[in-house]
Every structure is written in C-alpha cells, then in structure tokens.
C-alpha cells in the first residue's frame, strides 16, 4: 500500500501486526513500544524523522485504549501523571528540536540509530541486573505473590527525603512526600528521549518511576500510559507541524494495537512487579538488533 505523505510503500498487514505486538507490550508493560515501532518502521524504509513522528502519533491512540483499561484496574495515579506531563512536554520539544537540527545536517538516520542502540542495550542491561537481584533477595526473604520491591529502595528513600519546595504527596502511589522538581526532572529526561527517539520513552521513564520516585510497578505502568496521552499528543502536533508525521501509517498501526492493548492490560494481573520488569528486558534488545541490522546492511527487512 502506498502512503503518500511519507512516500513509502508498506504492507498494511505488516503495520497491523506491528501495532498488535506493540499493543500487547503497551498493555502489559505500559510501554509505548517505540523500541519496536521505530526500528520496525525504519526497517521498511521510513526515514528516522518520519519513524519518530509517526510512532508518537500511533502511541497517542494506543495509550488511550491501554490507559482506560488500567484506570479500570486502579493502576493510574492522576496527580502524578499530570505533574509528569509538564516535564515530558518540555523534554519532548527539546528532543524534537534536536531531530530538526540533525535533519538540517543530513545525519539524522545514523545519529539516531547509534543513540538508540546505546540506550536500548543500557536499559536492558540495567533492568536484568536489578530485577534478578530483587527476585533473588525476595526469594531469600520468602516473599510471595504480587508484592513489589526494589533493590534501589535506599536510593528512592533518599530522593523522597529531599526537601526542595514545592513538595507533593501521592497517596494513590503510597508516597507521603516528594519534591515536584524531582518528578518534573524525571519526566523531562524521559521527554527528551521521547522527542528524539520517538514513542513514549517508557523504557526510560518506567524504570525511573520505580527506582527514583518509588512508585509501585503496577501503578508506574498505568500512570505512565495516562501521562503519555498528554505528552505524546503534544509531541505528535510538534512533529506534524515539522513534517515528520504520516498519520495514515499511524492509523493502520493503531487498528492492531486496539486488540493487543486489552490482552496486555489483563495479563498484568497475573504477574509480580520484578517479574514484569525482568520480562521487559529482551524488548529493547530486539529493537537494538533491528537497528543494528538496518545500520550495517542498509537493507529493509
């Protein structure tokens, strides 16, 4: 099928399947799936600037479905989500401007490819280390069921003790008091990745919410999805104005994501926090592998 806006020929079935897979991952992990969607779009010949912008648009639609499902399960902290949206929007604009600067120099594809490989591999390495450590120590303490625990608990407690006005309490997430600036900073960093690499950058923000802010994993997943609706909408508009969005591709991908998101969201009820984090590990690595393949061979999949 020909998509006139980006000038690409892509099978709608391929896009629906990619959307479906991302929908399942989104519902389960709360991720936007940019580490799969970006490389998957790049692999069929879309330039990175279009892959980034279009992925953001697709994520808006997908997150609406998954966030609604998570809200019904009580996994959304609205106050935290709204504060984070402020930081993410600022960061997303910085990321989008970086893409524009690279577009002008003609190095957008190579630079974004290399940065994405480094980020995806780093996140997977960190999460496998932390989750395994947590599961081992949880096993030693004979913890069972869906109890959530992180080996970074001492870091989280130290961050929550920082008294930088204004402070806010997050009763839904079980956080008595935390500085608004810490939340905004975490979201801002995630926003830069979102604007630069596409998607919701949940591979960055979900771990940050758990390890830095001390949000339980199930709530981090749902709240992040809610926050993404706001920030990715802004990112989509920003990229669309800059000519980086093929909305037809996003619409087709979204059809598969609608079904996948429901399956993923229901599945979170059967897994404990550290196990969700451990299962997340291979996903950025798959994205990295696709980018490496495209970068080295120059071939489409």
């Amino acid at each position: 099928m020909f998509f006139p806006i980006s000038g690409a020929h892509i099978s709608p079935i391929y896009l629906s399947i990619v959307g479906f897979v991302i929908g399942v991952l989104g519902g389960f992990f709360g991720v936007g799936g940019s580490f799969i969607a970006g490389p998957a779009l790049r692999a069929v010949g879309l330039h990175w600037n279009f892959a980034v912008g279009t992925d953001l648009a697709h994520i808006v639609g997908k997150s609406v479905v998954a966030a609604k499902r998570h809200r019904a399960l009580g996994n959304v902290d609205l106050r935290l989500g709204l504060i984070m949206a402020l930081g993410t929007i600022g960061g997303a604009e910085v990321g989008a401007q970086l893409i524009q600067a690279l577009k002008r120099t003609g190095h957008v594809d190579s630079v974004v490819s290399i940065v994405s490989i480094v980020i995806y591999v780093s996140i997977s390495t960190f999460m496998i280390w932390e989750s395994r450590k947590t599961l081992r120590s949880a096993g030693a303490r004979k913890k069972t069921g869906k109890q959530d625990h992180s080996e970074f608990g001492h870091v989280t407690q130290w961050i929550q003790r920082l008294k930088i006005w204004p402070m806010v309490s997050l009763p839904v997430s079980g956080v008595k008091s935390i500085s608004v600036w810490v939340i905004v900073f975490v979201a801002f960093i995630g926003g830069i990745f979102s604007g630069f690499l596409g998607g919701g950058a949940v591979y960055n923000r979900m771990p940050s919410m758990v390890y830095v802010l001390g949000i339980p994993t199930h709530l981090a997943v749902g709240t992040d999805l809610f926050e993404i609706i706001i920030s990715a909408s802004y990112g989509t508009i920003s990229h669309a104005v800059k000519g980086n969005v093929d909305i037809l591709i996003a619409l087709v991908m979204n059809t598969g994501a609608a079904v996948g998101a429901q399956i993923g969201a229901i599945s979170t009820q059967y897994f404990a926090g550290p196990k969700i984090r451990l299962a997340f590990v291979p996903l950025p690595l798959i994205g990295a592998a696709i980018v490496i393949y495209t970068l080295l061979t120059g071939h489409k999949l």
Partner: protein
C-alpha cells in the same frame, strides 16, 4: 480459573476474526479516500494537518476501544 482463561482466549479469537473483516473494509474505503485529502493538507496547511491528525488518531482509538469492549462483552456474554 482455567475455564475463565479458555473463555477469554475464545473471546479474543472470535474478536480477532470479526476485527480482521472490519479492517479489510476500513483499509480499502477509509484510507483510500482520506489519503489524498490528508496529503494535500500536509503539503499546504501543516497546522491544520497537525490538528486533524491528533483528532483522527484519538477518535479512532476511542471508537476501536468501544468496539473491542462491545465485541468482548457480546462474545463473553454468550459463552457464559
């Protein structure tokens, strides 16, 4: 628990088949007619295109969510 899982899987399978049929129609009708109009809009009125894009993706998501929930309820309701 096991019965519940089987029912959920059956519901999703039927939903996927119904969905696939709807999507075929969607690809050929909606995208075919929207394609040219959106391309013109993207070329000539970027700000309008940005607004239309966000409305389209949000609208489609809400519609699809409603449709999948309705199908799921219908299929599960009949099999229970």
């Amino acid at each position: 628990m096991r019965r519940q899982t089987i029912l959920t899987l059956r519901a999703f399978s039927i939903e996927l088949v119904v969905y696939a049929a709807l999507m075929v129609g969607y690809f050929f009708l909606v995208l075919h007619f929207l394609g040219q109009w959106l391309w013109n809009l993207e070329m000539q009125h970027r700000f309008v295109y940005a607004g239309v894009a966000i409305v389209l993706i949000l609208g489609q998501a809400v519609l699809l969510e409603g449709l999948t929930t309705f199908l799921l309820r219908l299929i599960r309701g009949r099999s229970e």
